[in-house]
C-alpha cells in the first residue's frame, strides 16, 4: 500500500502505482500553474514513500503529458534536490519515460538530468497514444 494521492484536475492527471516493488508515476495532460500545489504535494509524498519502501528507483512516465510549465517543473527539481541531500546509501534514482517527438520533453528532461546524471535516467519510448 502506498499513501500518495492522485491528481485529476485542471487538465492534468497523475497517478501513482506500486507493483512488484516498483514505484511509478504516470502523468497525462498539461501541468500549468494551477497544478503546481498538487504536484508539489504529490512529489513530496512520493519522496516519503520511496524512502519508506526503500525502492532503488522511481519511474516517472511523461509520455502522455502534453506540457509541464516552469513552476511545475521546478517541483521536480526540488524533488531531485531532496534526493541529492540524502546520504548516498538512501538515494534512489529517477527514471523518466519520455516521448522524444515532444521537443519540450527532450529538452527539459535532458536539462534536468544535468543536475544529477547518476540519479536521473531518461528512457525514450513512443507515446502510448492516450492523453
Amino acid at each position: 500500500m502506498i499513501d500518495i494521492p492522485n491528481i485529476d484536475a485542471n487538465d492534468l492527471r497523475a497517478a501513482p502505482n506500486y507493483v512488484d516493488g516498483q514505484l511509478s508515476l504516470s502523468f497525462a495532460g498539461s501541468a500549468d500553474s494551477r497544478s503546481q500545489g498538487a504536484i508539489e504535494t504529490m512529489l513530496g509524498r512520493v519522496h516519503t514513500e520511496a524512502m519508506r519502501l526503500g525502492v532503488p528507483e522511481v519511474a516517472v512516465d511523461f509520455r502522455d503529458c502534453d506540457f509541464v510549465n516552469s513552476s511545475c517543473f521546478k517541483a521536480f527539481i526540488v524533488w531531485l534536490e531532496q534526493i541529492q541531500e540524502l546520504d548516498s546509501e538512501q538515494q534512489y534514482r529517477l527514471r523518466f519515460f519520455s516521448d522524444d517527438t515532444k521537443a519540450w520533453q527532450r529538452r527539459s528532461l535532458q536539462a534536468l538530468s544535468c543536475f544529477a546524471i547518476e540519479l536521473v535516467h531518461i528512457e525514450s519510448k513512443p507515446s502510448r497514444g492516450g492523453s
Binding site: I77, Q91, W104, R107, S108, Q110, A111, C114, F115
Partner: protein, 501 residues
C-alpha cells in the same frame, strides 16, 4: 568544487547568502516579465542582479557559477529582444538555470550530489540560443552586457551573419571548382576576417590576473614573479569568460598550493622567489595558454589515498595507478578540494568546472606535475568560433559532407519522396561517381519531417561554426578537425519538402 580556498570562509558564506537572495529576486523578476506584469525598473534590476552575480562569483572563484550565469544572461538578453514572448520550454530552461546556480552555490565540498553535469547543462542552453533567430544586436540599456557590446559590437550580428552567408556561398563554389587555389585563398581570408570581427585583446586580461596572483602571494607571505610570454593575441569574445575562469583558478592555485613559502623553497635548494610562467601561443586554429610554476607540484601519494577514500579507485587500482591517472582525478567532479587541501598541497579547486567550460567550447586542458619541481597546466581553445553538436551525414557526392544540428532527430526510412541535398545544391558533377552506400533518412523535429537521401551512416560529432549564418539561412559551413561540412537547417533549406505530422 569551485570555492576560493584562499578566501576567508566568512566571505564565501556571505556570497552564498547574498546569492540565494539574489536568485529569488531574479526568479521573481523573470516570472513577472514573462507574465507581462513586469516593469522597466524590474527588468533593469533583473539584469543588474544577474550581472552582479556573475561578477561576485568570479571574485570568490565559483567558476561553474560564472559559466552558468553567463549563459543565463545570454538567455535573458535573447528573451528581451523578443519582449519576453518566449516559448514554455525556454521558460523552463531559464527556471532550471536559476535552480542550477542555486544548487551550485549551496553545494558543499565532498557532498555526494549524484554527478552534476555542468557541460551538459551549458549545452542545453547553447542549443536553445543557437535555435533563436538573432534579429538585431540592440544596445543594452541596463549595461548588463555593456562589455560585450562594446568589445564585439563594432559590426552587428546581422552583418556578420550576412558575411557568413557569403562565405558559405563561396565555399559551395569552391567545392564545384575542384578547389581552385585562388578561390580557396579568398575563402580562407574571408573566414579569417569573420573570426577577427568577434575578437578582443587577451593580454589585458592576462596582465590583470598576473597582478592579482602577485597580490594573493603577498597576502600569503610568498614571493613570486609572474612572467607573461606571447603575442598580443585576440580571442573570440565567446571564449573570454572561459579563459578568465581558467586563469583565475590556475594562477591562484599555483600561488596558493604550488609555490612554497620562501623558507621552504630555500630548504629545497630553490630560489626564495618562485616563478610562474604564463605562455600564450597562437596556432592556426587555436589559442594555447600554458601556466607553469616551479613550486612543489602535486602530491600524488595523497591523491592516491584520497581517490581510495572517495571510492573513485579500488585499493588495488589506487595502488597500481600511474601518476598521470591520479593527476587526471583532479578534474573529476566531486573530487573534494576542500578536504584534499587539508592533506595535500594539491590542485583541483574548480578544475572540473574549468574543464567543462573549455570542453564545451571544443578545447582541451591538461595538467602535468613533478613533485618538488613544479606543475604545468595547459589549455587550448578554438579561436573565435562556436561549437555545435551535429549529426554528420555523408553525402552521395564523394568529397562532400553534410551535417544537421542534433536538435533534429534522425531515423532511417524507406521512401521514394526523399531529396538528395547534393543534387538540390547542384553539387553532383557530370560523370562523377556516386557513393555506393545510399541511405534514406528522415530529419524530424517538433512535428515536422524532412526525408532525404545520404551516402553513408550517420554519426554524432561536435563541429565548429566557422562562419555562422542566420538561423533563417538554410546553410552554413562547419568544421570538425580539418573536415569542412555543410550544415543544413532543414526547415529553411527544404521548406517545400516539409511533412507535418
Amino acid at each position: 568544487m569551485a570555492v576560493a580556498e584562499a578566501l576567508p570562509l566568512s566571505i564565501v558564506a556571505q556570497f552564498r547568502a547574498t546569492t540565494i537572495e539574489r536568485l529569488g529576486r531574479i526568479e521573481s523578476a523573470w516570472g513577472a516579465l514573462t507574465q507581462r506584469v513586469g516593469t522597466a525598473e524590474g527588468e533593469s534590476e533583473l539584469f543588474h542582479d544577474v550581472h552582479t552575480l556573475k561578477g561576485e562569483a568570479r571574485l570568490v572563484g565559483f567558476a561553474d557559477v560564472v559559466l552558468i550565469t553567463q549563459r543565463l544572461e545570454d538567455l535573458l538578453v535573447a528573451a528581451r529582444r523578443r519582449r519576453y514572448r518566449v516559448t514554455e520550454d525556454v521558460d523552463v530552461l531559464v527556471t532550471m538555470a536559476i535552480q542550477f546556480i542555486r544548487m551550485l552555490v549551496r553545494k558543499r565540498a565532498g557532498a555526494s550530489q549524484g554527478g552534476i553535469d555542468i557541460n551538459g547543462f551549458l549545452k542545453q542552453i547553447d542549443d536553445v540560443l543557437a535555435e533563436w533567430p538573432r534579429q538585431s544586436e540592440t544596445p543594452d540599456a541596463s549595461g548588463a552586457t555593456g562589455a560585450r557590446a562594446g568589445e564585439g559590437g563594432k559590426v552587428s550580428v546581422a552583418v556578420r551573419q550576412r558575411l557568413g552567408g557569403a562565405a558559405t556561398q563561396m565555399f559551395l563554389e569552391l567545392i564545384m571548382s575542384d578547389e581552385r587555389p585562388r578561390l580557396r585563398r579568398a575563402w580562407e581570408i574571408l573566414v579569417g576576417e569573420l573570426a577577427q570581427l568577434d575578437a578582443v585583446p587577451l593580454m589585458p586580461l592576462v596582465r590583470r590576473h598576473a597582478l592579482s596572483a602577485k597580490e594573493v602571494a603577498a597576502e600569503l607571505g610568498k614571493e613570486v614573479d609572474v612572467v607573461i610570454e606571447g603575442p598580443d593575441a585576440k580571442v573570440g569574445i565567446e571564449v573570454l569568460d572561459t579563459i578568465h575562469a581558467a586563469l583565475l583558478h590556475t594562477l591562484r592555485n599555483a600561488v596558493d598550493h604550488g609555490i612554497e613559502a620562501p623558507h621552504v623553497r630555500a630548504a629545497h635548494g630553490k630560489p626564495r622567489r618562485g616563478q610562474i610562467l604564463v605562455n600564450i601561443r597562437i596556432d592556426a586554429d587555436a589559442i594555447v595558454v600554458t601556466i607553469e610554476d616551479d613550486g612543489g607540484g602535486i602530491d600524488t601519494e595523497a591523491l592516491r589515498r584520497r581517490a581510495e577514500t572517495l571510492g573513485l579507485l579500488s585499493p588495488e587500482d589506487a595502488s597500481a595507478a600511474p601518476d598521470s591517472t591520479l593527476i587526471d582525478l583532479a578534474f573529476a567532479p566531486g573530487f573534494s578540494v576542500r578536504e584534499a587541501a587539508t592533506t595535500i598541497s594539491g590542485r583541483g579547486i574548480g578544475l572540473d568546472a574549468v574543464r567543462a567550460g573549455i570542453e564545451r567550447l571544443g578545447g582541451t586542458i591538461s595538467l602535468e606535475s613533478k613533485r618538488n619541481v613544479g606543475a604545468n597546466v595547459s589549455f587550448q581553445l578554438p579561436q573565435s568560433r562556436r561549437v555545435i553538436d551535429v549529426h554528420r551525414l555523408p553525402s552521395t557526392q564523394p568529397g562532400v559532407t553534410f551535417a544537421v544540428p542534433t536538435t533534429w532527430m534522425v531515423r532511417a526510412e524507406r521512401g521514394d519522396d526523399s531529396i538528395d541535398p547534393a543534387i538540390a545544391l547542384g553539387l553532383r558533377r557530370a560523370g562523377a561517381s556516386v557513393s555506393a552506400t545510399l541511405a534514406h533518412i528522415v530529419l524530424a523535429r517538433d512535428g515536422e519531417e524532412y526525408p532525404i537521401v545520404i551516402g553513408g551512416s550517420v554519426t554524432r560529432v561536435a563541429a565548429v561554426r566557422i562562419c555562422p549564418t542566420s538561423p533563417d539561412d538554410g546553410l552554413e559551413v562547419v568544421s570538425v578537425d580539418d573536415e569542412k561540412m555543410l550544415l543544413i537547417r532543414p526547415d529553411a533549406f527544404f521548406p517545400s519538402l516539409r511533412r507535418s505530422l
